[in-house]
């Protein structure tokens, strides 16, 4: 089976996004979406997932995304929103089960339960399975959200800052899970804030600013001072050593004119 690569040729949303490609997020690797706040990272992810209307020319393998029926599109791609918190009184097991059942409605089968169990187990959620969602911590809730995505077994996973509300331990775990998903041949496209996490885990990067893509390519080409300093308008200290590349933000590069 050939692994489907996500290629974005064009994604335009009025006033917010004007990305012209081709941008490639190869299957089996993690592609990081980097850029300052308001760069259009969420908008791009939502446009790809079909949640936000956009003039879109993007393909997953040989399928044109805009041409896919809605149901099929939500089956092959799954968008994970930024950490939301609901007050729903649903058990963790129920929440993951319903993520699967919105995909394939009908009676709950033994196969469904096995898939839910597998997703829960891989995110170490089995001990929490009967806990109510409204009692989970932020990190636990994020794990449930990822389990909800995994149980659907999408070909491409789109994640919107999955690490933003998490402590360091949870951040690393989330990215390790994403690495495992990528190793299974999925396309993983993830919006990140943390350059060091991106340097550690990303294979490819798309650099976004003011709704445009400034640069895209293999991570080691993108994550260099020449690209990152103008992207975030900061001075950076970049260190290369045996452990990899680390970034240390030093100062704001130019003060934005104030009114």
């Amino acid at each position: 089976m050939t692994l489907p690569t996500l290629v974005v040729n064009q994604a335009h949303v009025k006033h917010r996004l004007a990305v012209d490609g081709p941008l490639r997020a190869p299957a089996g690797s993690i592609t990081a979406l980097l850029g300052p706040n308001g760069a259009g990272k969420s908008t791009l992810l939502k446009a790809l997932a079909g949640i936000e209307g956009a003039a879109l020319d993007a393909r997953l393998g040989d399928r044109q995304l805009a041409g896919l029926p809605a149901l099929e599109r939500h089956r092959v791609m799954h968008y994970l929103p930024q950490l939301g918190r609901g007050g729903a009184r649903l058990s963790v097991h129920e929440a993951v089960l319903l993520s699967l059942k919105t995909l394939s409605p009908g009676r709950v089968s033994a196969q469904d339960l096995a898939r839910v169990r597998e997703a829960l187990a891989s995110l170490h959620l089995l001990p929490l399975a009967q806990h109510s969602l409204d009692r989970l911590s932020g990190g636990q809730y994020q794990r449930v959200a990822i389990a909800q995505a995994m149980v659907r077994r999408p070909e491409a996973l789109l994640l919107d800052e999955p690490t933003s509300a998490l402590d360091l331990h949870q951040q690393l775990r989330v990215l390790e899970w994403l690495r495992r998903e990528a190793d299974q041949g999925r396309t993983v496209l993830v919006a990140l804030h943390d350059l060091n996490l991106a340097a550690r885990f990303a294979d490819h990067c798309w650099l976004l600013k003011q709704g445009r893509c400034l640069h895209a390519g293999p991570a080691r080409e993108c994550l260099v001072r020449e690209h990152l300093e103008p992207l975030f308008e900061i001075h950076l200290n970049v260190q290369q050593d045996a452990g990899g590349t680390t970034f240390q933000p030093l100062a704001v590069r130019q003060v934005a004119p104030r009114e």
Binding site: A49, I51, A70, L71, R73, H74, R75, H78, Y79, L80, P81, G84, G86, G87, A88, R89, L90, S91, H93, E94, A95, L98, S99, K101, T102, L103, P105, V108, S109, A110, L113, V116, R117, L120, L126, P127, L128, A129, Q130, H131, S132, L133, R135, A145, Q148, R152
Partner: protein, 354 residues
């Protein structure tokens, strides 16, 4: 609460899952038993003061009973109890689904103004003889009620879509809607004939005293249809509880689902209000009780809400008959007096959480 805190293993097999489900479903059986008891109690008590044994006998063997008792029981008390149960279930289902699709714990047909709008519409048909839909009699009243409750629901939907509309603002809008239609109802009262005035009091206070087979059939039909549709869309409706974006990411057409459910609930509210007038808070309280017992999963939550709503209404009817000796109070007054404290409690609790 304790059941949720215990770290139970997730169901490993289909048999385990079924066992889990059965445990939840036991609450439904309990709800059914409560409804039976409440309905029976409601049946036994009432003007006429017959001995309970006599009433039970007349229920069991109508042919052998005293004719007056037979007529009282079969033509007055039984239809009233049925109307109480059906309208209570209808209001509870409408409240439950409005809370689900609007993600608003304070929502119900009464607090969002749908009930007042519907009751004005129904009164317009009964007092003014104006039917907006080509229907007559009780159907005309229900049709008018539907038109107005649908309008109120659309207003709720439009405002709810706007950014930054908090849950409280939505309820404020509901209260404003209520004031509006109460003022219009007052206008109708002012111009109404003394005979029609009597009827208007009925709409404003809520009453179970005018049960007819047509009204009962109408509520039952719409209720069953709403339950069936909700059952079919159960997973999607539960997904809405996770938040809008999350639900849409799962492929749920959130906006369409929300609008469709609101319209269905407007219809349910309309047929109930056209039959019994404005009865508040049953639709608010019953779903909260159900949620506390079985959580938000639709397949348990909705039927239990219906059963509890029906039970509450039967109990309210019972209280309305026995609170003051010799007087049957309008049942809407009973539900308002008992429901309002709970409404206050919900508002305060919500403020603390947010």
């Amino acid at each position: 609460m304790t059941a949720d805190a215990a770290p139970l293993a997730p169901p490993a097999t289909l048999a385990d899952f079924r066992r889990h489900e059965r445990r939840r479903r036991r609450w439904l059986w309990a709800g059914g038993a409560v409804l039976l008891l409440a309905g029976l109690a409601d049946l036994l008590v009432g003007p006429g003061h017959y001995a309970y044994r006599e009433v039970l006998l007349a229920l069991w063997r109508p042919a052998e009973a005293d004719p007056v008792l037979r007529i009282t029981l079969w033509q007055i008390r039984l239809p009233t109890v049925l109307l109480a149960a059906l309208s209570g279930a209808g209001l509870a289902v409408a409240g439950a689904q409005m809370q689900t699709v609007l993600d608003n714990p304070l929502a119900d047909p009464f607090t969002l103004g749908l009930a007042s709008a519907a009751s004005f519409g129904a009164a317009l048909a009964v007092v003014g003889g104006i039917a907006l839909l080509p229907l007559e009699g009780a159907l005309g009243a229900a049709g008018n009620a539907f038109v107005f409750s649908l309008l109120a629901a659309l207003m709720v939907q439009l405002l709810g879509q706007r950014r930054g509309t908090s849950l409280e603002v939505l309820v404020l809008l509901g209260i404003a809607t209520m004031f509006t239609f109460n003022a219009l109802l007052g206008l109708l009262q002012y111009v109404a004939s003394p005979d029609a005035l009597q009827q208007l009091v009925f709409w404003t206070l809520g009453s179970l005293s005018r049960a007819t087979p047509l009204k009962l059939a109408m509520i039952a039909l719409v209720l069953v249809a709403c339950l069936a549709v909700s059952q079919r869309l159960g997973w999607q409706l539960s997904a809405l509880r996770l938040g809008d974006t999350q639900a849409r990411a799962m492929g749920v057409r959130a906006a369409r689902l929300r609008l469709g459910m609101l319209a269905a609930m407007a219809l349910l509210t309309a047929v109930v209000v056209a039959a019994v007038g404005t009865i508040g808070f049953v639709g608010l309280v019953a779903p909260h009780m159900a949620r506390l017992l079985v959580g938000d999963a639709q397949r348990h939550f909705l039927p239990l809400s219906a059963l509890l709503g029906a039970s509450l209404m039967c109990l309210a009817d019972l209280v309305s008959k026995s609170a003051l000796p010799g007087v049957v109070l309008p049942v809407g007054i009973i539900t308002a007096l008992t429901g309002l404290p709970i409404f206050f409690l919900l508002i305060l609790r919500h403020r603390r959480l947010s």
